[in-house]
Structures are given as structure tokens and as C-alpha cells.
Symmetry: C2
């Protein structure tokens, strides 16, 4: 495998990066929901923590029955077992990242994992 | 630990999300370099794959001596052992995410890890 891999993500309803970038520690999707739309199912995960980043627009997440408003600049960690569903706002779409990683998989990081 | 955690990232040179969100599978930083600036060191990692996402602006990465141009919409996977350094362009700043995950830590994902 190459030491690095690059791709450019154009506007799209959903782009999944795992295979495009040959990721080994995460799956990352870039997602857009138009105003009034939602992910059409509630889901949880077996092992994976999900981290959501709102890039543009607004909407909400419903997590274990609790409503969490979302706007550009918001970041959200969701535990594997939490039942979640993402919604765009009624009058604005939402563009967001979803980063899936195995819960408790990170050991050292930043200075503790760096080689200078 | 709560089933979820939310934070809002304001404009800043660098925000690290691991502790803010109690992440367990990743460290994620949101970074801005002004025009003409660079990360002031070359580094590699012991275990962690890094994934860079360019949110705004332009610049370049130099990875094992190879120059990779970067612009908004670009995503880059960098293997742990690759020696890397990030630069803003001379005439434009760059805003980017850096996602650190343990290489080869991901098992199932998306449909294979989901509970509907």
C-alpha cells in the first residue's frame, strides 16, 4: 500500500472514503441532506463510536430519544449503543461528516504517538 | 460516560477534540494556518494513521519528500511511518481536520457494524 492516498470529494448526497483512501482505522462519510429530509432509519452500532461534524447548514440528531440541535461547527460523539437518527432542518439542508472508529481502539496520540 | 457529547468549535488556530468529546477511538483536531505559514516540524507516527480533510483554502503536504497540492474538498490518508509536513499556500490560508486513528484498528463498519 502507498504511504499516502488522496481523493477529492465533490458535492454528493454521500461519499464513503474507506475504499477510496484505503483507510484501515476508520470509515468516514461525507453526507448532505436537503431541507426537510432525514436519514430514513434509526440505528446503533455493535463496536463503533461515531463522531459527527456539521460542515454547513442545520438540523438535529435524536439520540436515545433526546433531541440535539445541530449547526455548522458542531461536533458530536455518539457511543456505539446509542440509538440515533439525523435530520436536516425543515428550512435548511445539512452537510456533515460521519467518522466511524472502533470504540476504545485509540492508544497513544499526538505527542505520545509522534516521531519527530 | 454519557451516551453522547457535543461541542461547538469556534474559529481558532487549533482545537483538539479528544478530551472535549471524550473520544475513545480517535483524536481529531481542527486546524487553521494563515497564508505563508506551516506546521513547524516534520513528523511521523508510531501506530496512528492520519486522515486530513481540507475544509477551506489551499496549501500542500510534503510526504516522504513528495509534494501533494491541497485544496478544499481534498482528503488524504497518511500511513503512520510517512514523514509529513503541512503548509498553507503563500497567498491563502488553509483550514483542515486531522483525524488520528490506530492503523488497522477498524473491524466491521457501516452495514456490518450497524444494529437497525
Amino acid at each position: 500500500m502507498k504511504n499516502f492516498e488522496k481523493t477529492t470529494v465533490a458535492e454528493s448526497a454521500r461519499v464513503e472514503l474507506h475504499d477510496l483512501l484505503h483507510l484501515t482505522g476508520a470509515e468516514i462519510s461525507v453526507n448532505s441532506l436537503p431541507a426537510g429530509a432525514c436519514v430514513p432509519f434509526v440505528h446503533a452500532h455493535k463496536q463503533n463510536e461515531e463522531i459527527y461534524a456539521v460542515l454547513e447548514g442545520e438540523g438535529k440528531a435524536v439520540i436515545d430519544g433526546e433531541t440535539v440541535p445541530l449547526a455548522a461547527g458542531d461536533w458530536l460523539r455518539v457511543a456505539p449503543s446509542a440509538k440515533r437518527q439525523l435530520f436536516a432542518a425543515e428550512k435548511a439542508g445539512i452537510k456533515y461528516l460521519c467518522i466511524q472508529v472502533k470504540a476504545n481502539s485509540l492508544e497513544g496520540y499526538t505527542a505520545a504517538d509522534a516521531l519527530l
